[in-house]
């Protein structure tokens, strides 16, 4: 096989991996700060994508404007979500939070199917079919943009977590809630912000990927289980770990998919997650949270 083949696989893998990372990081942040596994995470991705579709096709907004509007809406939605639902189940045993978010996912997913039917919609703009080519390698323009957005998001998240006080507070709460309380950090404000950012990232992923994939109410479901696997592999609550695990998974999927039957790759993902949990429960990079 010529090296071009491997390189193309690698490139595909990096792009997919960054996209996974975008979704997984939000999930990881929410888990790290609140200890809640957000079952409905995929649905916010889906809602972001549907909103992006509406804005682009019905209101004719440009790409940048769409992404901005969707991200801001997602952040506000996260805020509302926290205040309305999550604040009351925090600390009340994690089963409650899983079941609550599961119920939320059922409402959102089936509600969307009921309202919009499962007919897939595709965003069609002039750039939808543009490609970026480097020698023999090709990537579609929309994917490159999604990749760029993902990198921007990583950078922004890094800045927030490590260069702002709020970010430091979030990391502190993730490390130990009681200790954070003792030094005067308000866990409620921090949790609220974490949820807002997490959902915001999910919505951003939706807006970035709406021009790439078909938009339909069930699109979140296929990503969310992989996102769970990623945050387990990276270490529950460890955001950087999640990003690295996501990238690794994307590349692994792509390279293996180049040689093995694709369906085996999916089974491999879940099996390796189970294996990781049994062998090294704190994930590849160790914890954010007690496991």
């Amino acid at each position: 096989m010529d090296p071009g083949f491997y390189l193309q696989l690698l490139l595909n893998g990096i792009v997919i991996g960054c996209i996974y990372a975008l979704i997984a990081m939000g999930l990881s942040l929410i888990f790290g700060v609140l200890e809640i596994v957000n079952f409905a995470h995929g649905e916010f991705y889906m809602l972001g994508a549907m909103l992006a579709y509406f804005l682009t096709m019905n209101l004719r907004l440009g790409y940048a404007a769409t992404v901005l509007v969707v991200t801001v809406s997602a952040v506000c939605l996260g805020y509302v979500l926290y205040e309305a639902l999550l604040v009351s189940v925090q600390g009340g045993g994690f089963e409650r939070s899983i079941l609550l978010t599961l119920g939320l996912s059922m409402v959102l997913q089936n509600g969307a199917v009921f309202l919009f039917t499962t007919t897939p919609r595709m965003i069609q703009t002039q750039q939808s079919y543009a490609n970026v080519a480097v020698g023999d390698l090709r990537v579609s323009l929309m994917r490159v943009l999604a990749l760029a957005l993902a990198i921007l998001a990583f950078a922004a998240l890094y800045l927030i977590l490590y260069r702002t006080r709020m970010g430091k507070a979030m990391r502190g709460v993730a490390q130990s809630r009681e200790a954070a309380l003792m030094v005067g950090i308000d866990p409620r404000a921090v949790s609220r912000l974490a949820v807002a950012i997490g959902i915001g990232l999910s919505g951003l992923a939706g807006a970035a990927l709406a021009p790439v994939y078909a938009v339909h109410p069930l699109m979140g479901a296929s990503f969310v289980f992989k996102a769970f696997a990623i945050i387990i592999l990276g270490g529950l609550g460890n955001i950087a770990g999640a990003a690295i695990a996501a990238l690794g998974l994307g590349v692994l999927e792509s390279v293996m998919g180049g040689f093995l039957p694709v369906v085996m790759v999916d089974a491999l993902v879940f099996s390796s997650m189970i294996a990781m949990l049994l062998v090294r429960p704190q994930g590849l990079f160790g914890r954010g949270v007690r496991v």
């Binding site: 200890e35 596994v37 639902l85 009351s88 189940v89 994690f94 089963e95 409650r96 939070s97 899983i98 079941l99 609550l100 599961l102 119920g103 939320l104 996912s105 059922m106 409402v107 959102l108 997913q109 089936n110 509600g111 199917v113 009921f114 289980f225 769970f228 696997a229 387990i232 529950l236 369906v263 085996m264 999916d266 089974a267 879940f270 099996s271 997650m273 189970i274 949990l277 049994l278 429960p281 007690r290 496991v291």
Partner: protein, 325 residues
């Protein structure tokens, strides 16, 4: 609390009524609902045992259900086994798998166990779809033959819906009797202790792992067996037996009835097995409603209906009574 004898009488009456239904009406639809109720009640009861009593959130029930179904179907069609043994083997295999999963992942945190159980169920579906040489893949195994049961020395062909109704209802009754025995015994008390406060239970000499495994294995055994029987009613087994929809419905039944309440979950499975069809909700709206119930339950009444009833009772009991003196 109703007194013991009254309760037993009520239960016997209810059972008699249920078993008499095919004699009273030939309405096949009612029988279909009855079969659905019997099946879901066993699944929800098992989940209640694992989550409600022992406090382990598990999504693996549907995996055990499907493993039992596929095993029984394959044993009957490929090896010519009789129905009972095939279903029992299905249950046994499911229980074994449950023990393996449980033993390896129960050492972990409960978060991790919940996620492992979820991936297990997903993996089951992937395997069912892709190990085509074993499971016929997405095509499933259609045309499962009419089973015969050797009972009281006679061979009984299960060709009418009423036959399956009797079969599944009897199985559900036996399964619930077994579960009731467990939860009202020392085993049940130990499980409840583990759920309420595991370290304390441990300090009292209860080994949590053993009881968790017991709950898991028992629920797997029952789910596997009912799966083995159910697929013959459908005459086909295909990967959709692992659908997440079953998990969601089971969860709602347990949460609504009240985790840890034997009768509550039984009642809610009866209600939820019959009601949606009678109300003719489209399935999407029904799932939205279930989701909303789940959210409301988590926010407002985590104990389900049974828990609410219990609280009301306690409130009444605590109410100050005016002394007529």
């Amino acid at each position: 609390m109703r007194s013991g004898p009254t309760r037993i009488l009520l239960v016997l009456l209810a059972l008699a009524a249920l078993f008499a239904i095919p004699r009273l009406t030939g309405n096949e639809y009612l029988l279909a609902l009855g079969v659905s109720f019997a099946m879901f009640s066993v699944l929800a009861g098992g989940l209640n045992l694992v989550y409600g009593y022992t406090g382990l959130l598990s999504f693996a029930q549907v995996g055990f259900f499907g493993i039992g179904g596929y095993t029984a179907a394959l044993l009957v069609t490929e090896q010519g086994w009789p129905l009972w043994s095939a279903a029992a083997a299905g249950g046994a295999l499911a229980a074994l798998v449950g023990l393996v999963i449980g033993y390896s992942s129960l050492r972990l945190s409960r978060h991790a166990f919940a996620i492992v159980s979820l991936s297990f169920a997903l993996l089951c579906m992937i395997v069912a779809r892709d190990w085509v040489s074993l499971t016929r893949g997405a095509m499933g195994i259609p045309g499962l033959p009419v089973p015969t049961l050797a009972l009281f020395g006679r061979e009984w062909r299960l060709s009418r819906p009423a036959d399956f109704y009797y079969l599944l209802l009897s199985f559900a009754t036996a399964a619930h009797a077994l579960m009731y025995l467990v939860v009202s015994s020392r085993l049940g008390r130990a499980m409840r202790a583990i759920r309420l406060n595991e370290p304390l239970a441990q300090s009292q000499g209860i080994d949590p792992l053993r009881y968790k495994l017991l709950a898991l294995a028992l629920s797997a055994l029952l789910a596997g067996m009912v799966g083995g029987l159910f697929v013959f009613y459908l005459t086909i087994v295909d990967p959709s037996i692992f659908d997440f929809y079953y998990t969601e419905t089971m969860l709602i039944m347990v949460i609504l009835g009240g985790p840890g309440s034997f009768w509550g979950v039984l009642a809610s499975s009866a209600a939820l097995a019959a009601l949606p069809d009678l109300l003719r909700f489209t399935t999407d709206l029904r799932m939205v409603l279930y989701g909303a119930i789940l959210i409301a339950a988590m926010l407002l009444f985590p104990g389900g209906v049974a828990g609410w009833v219990q609280r009301r009772r306690l409130q009444n009991w605590r109410r100050p009574r005016v002394n007529a003196s």
